[in-house]
Symmetry: C2
Subunit: 432 residues, 2 copies
C-alpha cells in the first residue's frame, strides 16, 4: 500500500518434483499478477534437487542450482526457503533449520516434518523472529490453515474433522464403484503412482493423521501431538463392508476427528461411516473435505482438491504471497512457547455404530446376540439379516448412540455366545 516500490521477494525452492515445478510454473506464468497483488515482484533465484539432468516440465535455466538443499537455504539471494522435498528427517529437516538460522522465512508442504518436529521448528523460528507457513501441508489446495488460524480466530474451536488423504478416498471409492476387492485396487493405485513409497503412510492413515495433528494444534492451542492420534488404516475394509454400509445408507471414509473434551484432547483418524447424502458422504476420489466447528461460526465446510501439482502449488503460493505482503504469524497461530501440552483422551463421545457379524444358523442365535448387546448397554436401531445358503449369514446392525466402551464390551462378549463366526466388524458412524 506504500507508494515506494518494495524489493522483490526472492524464493529458493528445494525439491523439483510435482509441487516444486508447480510453484515454478505459477511464478513464471503470473509474474504480473503476483506483483500487482503483493505490491512487489515475486521471483525465484535458486532451486535445488539431487538430479540436475532430469528432464523437468519447466525452464529452470535462469535459476542458480544447488545440489545441497542446505546450501540453497543459506544463500544470500534467498528470502523465502520453500521446502517441497518431503521426509521428516534428513535433508528436509536440516535445510529447514538452516534456513531459519540464516534468517529466512520458510514455506513448506511437509506434513510429516511438522507432525514430528513442528514444536521445535516453531520455537526455533519464533526465537529467531522468522515465520513458517504450511498451507500446502494439509488438504492440498484448500486454504484451511488460513481459515482456521486467521478467519476463525474469534472462535473457540469445538471440533475439526476431515477426509484428508485422497489416495484412501480413491481406493474406497474405486472399490465401491468397480466392485473390486481392496488388494486389487491397492495394486491399481500403486501402479497409478498414487501411493507413497511406503504405502502405509497412505493406507495406514499416517499421512492423514499428520494433517489432523497439525489442525488440532492450531484449533486447540496445544503442541502438535501426532503420537497420540488414534490411527487405523483402511486395510481391513472389505468390499462387503462397503456394500453392506451402502445398503444401510452409508459410505465408508477414512475420517479424522479432533476435539477438546472435558477429559482432554481426542484425535482419531479411523474408517467411519457417514450418511451417503451428507457432504462427506458425497466426496469422490481425491477430493478432500475439512469441517470446522466454532462456538460462534457454527459449522464451516471446505472442499477442494487434496493433492496434485496445481492445487498444492496454489497453497504454497498463498503462503508466499502472505509473506510478500508482510503477514507474520506464529507457526500455529499463537506463540509456540504458549502452546499447552495436550492431555490425550480416548474417544468417549457416544455415536451410532455399524456392526457386521456372521451369524450361525442355530435356533435363538439372533436372540443371543441381542442379549449380549443389551447387556453391554448397546441398543439396536436397525438390523438386517441376509439370506444365506451356508451355515451362517451376515447380519448388519446399526445401533443407537452408544459409547465406544460399550461397543468394545459387546464385541468382546460375542465369541462366548458361540453363534458368531469370525471377528465382528464395528465401525463408528459420524453424522456430520
Amino acid at each position: 500500500m506504500s507508494a515506494a516500490p518494495l524489493a522483490p521477494l526472492r524464493l529458493g525452492i528445494a525439491g523439483l518434483g510435482t509441487v516444486g515445478i508447480g510453484v515454478v510454473k505459477i511464478v513464471q506464468r503470473h509474474a504480473d499478477l503476483l506483483a500487482a497483488r503483493s505490491g512487489r515482484p515475486v521471483v525465484i533465484t535458486a532451486v535445488s534437487a539431487r538430479d540436475k539432468t532430469k528432464n523437468r516440465d519447466a525452464d529452470l535455466s535462469n535459476y542458480a542450482w544447488e545440489i545441497d538443499p542446505v546450501a540453497l537455504a543459506t544463500r544470500d539471494d534467498v528470502d523465502v526457503f520453500i521446502e517441497v522435498m518431503g521426509g521428516h528427517e534428513g535433508p528436509a529437516r536440516d535445510a529447514t533449520e538452516a534456513a531459519l538460522k540464516a534468517g529466512k522465512d520458510v514455506v513448506t508442504a511437509n506434513k510429516a516434518l511438522l507432525a514430528h518436529h513442528g514444536q521445535e521448528l516453531a520455537e526455533l523460528a519464533e526465537g529467531l523472529g522468522r515465520t513458517i507457513r504450511f498451507e500446502a501441508a494439509v488438504a492440498g489446495g484448500i486454504p484451511v490453515i488460513k481459515a482456521l488460524t486467521e478467519g476463525l480466530a474469534g472462535n473457540a474451536i469445538r471440533r475439526v474433522m476431515g477426509v484428508m488423504n485422497g489416495t484412501c478416498n480413491y481406493i474406497l471409492t474405486r472399490m465401491e464403484t468397480a466392485g473390486l476387492p481392496y488388494d486389487t485396487v491397492f495394486e491399481e493405485a500403486r501402479q497409478l503412482g498414487y501411493l507413497e513409497a511406503d504405502p502405509n503412510l497412505d493406507v495406514g492413515g499416517i499421512d492423514a493423521g499428520h494433517k489432523l495433528s497439525i489442525l488440532a494444534a492450531i484449533a486447540f492451542g496445544t503442541k502438535v501431538s501426532f503420537d497420540t492420534v488414534l490411527l487405523e488404516g483402511i486395510g481391513r475394509i472389505s468390499i462387503d463392508d462397503i456394500r453392506r454400509a451402502g445398503d444401510m445408507g452409508y459410505k465408508i471414509k477414512l475420517l479424522g476427528v479432533a476435539q477438546m473434551t472435558g477429559r482432554g484432547l481426542e484425535q482419531r483418524m479411523t474408517p467411519c461411516l457417514v450418511p451417503e447424502g451428507s457432504p462427506l458422504g458425497q466426496l469422490q476420489g481425491g477430493t478432500n473435505m475439512v469441517v470446522i466447528e466454532g462456538d460462534s461460526v457454527g459449522q464451516i465446510v471446505l472442499r477442494g482438491a487434496g493433492a496434485g501439482e496445481g492445487p498444492t502449488a496454489s497453497a504454497v503460493m498463498g503462503d508466499v504471497m502472505d509473506l510478500a505482503r508482510g503477514l507474520r504469524l506464529p507457526t500455529f497461530g499463537q506463540p509456540a512457547s504458549a502452546l499447552a501440552d495436550p492431555v490425550p483422551a480416548a474417544v468417549s463421545a457416544p455415536a451410532p455404530y455399524y456392526l457386521r457379524l456372521q451369524l450361525m444358523d442355530k435356533p435363538g442365535a439372533l436372540a443371543k446376540v441381542a442379549t449380549v448387546l443389551g447387556e453391554a448397554g448397546v441398543s439396536i436401531s436397525r438390523m438386517r439379516q441376509y439370506g444365506h445358503a451356508d451355515a451362517s449369514a451376515p447380519v448388519l446392525i446399526v445401533t443407537h448412540k452408544t459409547t465406544p466402551d460399550a461397543i468394545d464390551v459387546a464385541i468382546a462378549a460375542l465369541p462366548a455366545t458361540h453363534v458368531v463366526e469370525g471377528s465382528p466388524v464395528a465401525l463408528r458412524i459420524e453424522e456430520v
Copy 2:
C-alpha cells in the same frame, strides 16, 4: 511474535443490533483467547447506537457511549472502527469516511456500502495508509474474502459463484418442502423477521448482487461494478417450477456467477437450476455456499451459515484479529488505484436450459414448438409432457447446451406458433 507486549487494540462499535452485540459477546467471552492468538489484548472502548435505553443482550456498562457514529469514529481511544449499522448512505458512509480520515482502520459488514462506494472508500483508505476489512459483508461466517484475497492469491481466478442470500434460499426451500406458494412463504419470512425493511433487497437479488460484485472486484482486479450485475429476483419462481424442476432432477437457487470472459466481465445473480445431488443443490435454508475456480487450485467450495449473530460476528472478529496481528492489505487485494474499469459483458457461455411452457391441445402442437427451438439452434435433451384435463398441458424441456441468445430467440418466436399459452419460463441450468 515479539517479546515485548503490544498495546491493546481498541475497538469502537457502531451499531448494536444482532451483529454488534455478537461482537461484544465474543470480545467479552474470549478475552484470553484473543490475546493469546493476536499477542495483544483486544478491547472495546466505545459503542454507538441511536437508542441507549433499549434492552440489549450484553453488558455495555464499561464502554463509552456515543449517539453519533461519527463522534465514535473519531474518538482518540478507538483504533478500529467497526461499522455494523448498515445502509449505503448517511451515517454508515459518513462515519466510515470520518474514521479513515481520523486514522482508524475500519471493519465493516456493510455489503451495500462497499458495492456502491467501495472504490472511493478504498482509494480514501489507501491514500491515508488505512485498511478496510469486510469479511462479514459476504457469506456471513464463511471466510471467503480471506480465501479469495489471500489463500488463492497465486491463482488467476476463472469464476466465482455462490448462493449468498439466506432469505431467498429459505423461501425457495420452504416453498418446496411445505408445498406453499411464493406469496405465502414471503409473508412467513416477513413475520419471522428474515426480510430486510425493503424486501426487494433480498428477494430482488440486490443484497446477493452486492456480495457478488465485491467478490468479482477481488477475483478479477476490477473496480466494484454493482450497476452492471444482471439482477433477477425470485419473485417469478412458482411452486410449479420448483416441483417440475424437481421432477427433472434439479433444485432452483438464486445463484450468482461472476467470470471474466474474452468479451468482458460477466456478473449475474439470477434464479438457476442446479442438479439436486450437487453441493449447491443440497443447500438448505439459510446456509450459504461459495464456489471459487482458480487456474491452479481448480474448484474450491466453501459452505457455512450466511447470517446470524454468531457467524457474522465471527467474520467481524476474523478481520479484527488480522488487524491486531498487523495484517494490512489493500481493500480489494491490490491497490485501488490499479483496479481496472471492467467492461461489462452479457452472459454468453452456453448452458443447458430448463423451459416450461403451457402447450395447447392441438394436432402438431409439439412439433411446432420443436421446430421453433430447432430453428433457433436449441436442441432438446429431455422432454416431459404432463397429462391434462384442460385444453392445454405443461411441457418441460431440458435443452442441450445452448447460448442465452438462442434461448431468447426461441422464446420470442414461440407466440407465433399459436400453440403456447402465456409466457414460457426459461431458467439456466448450472452444473456446478
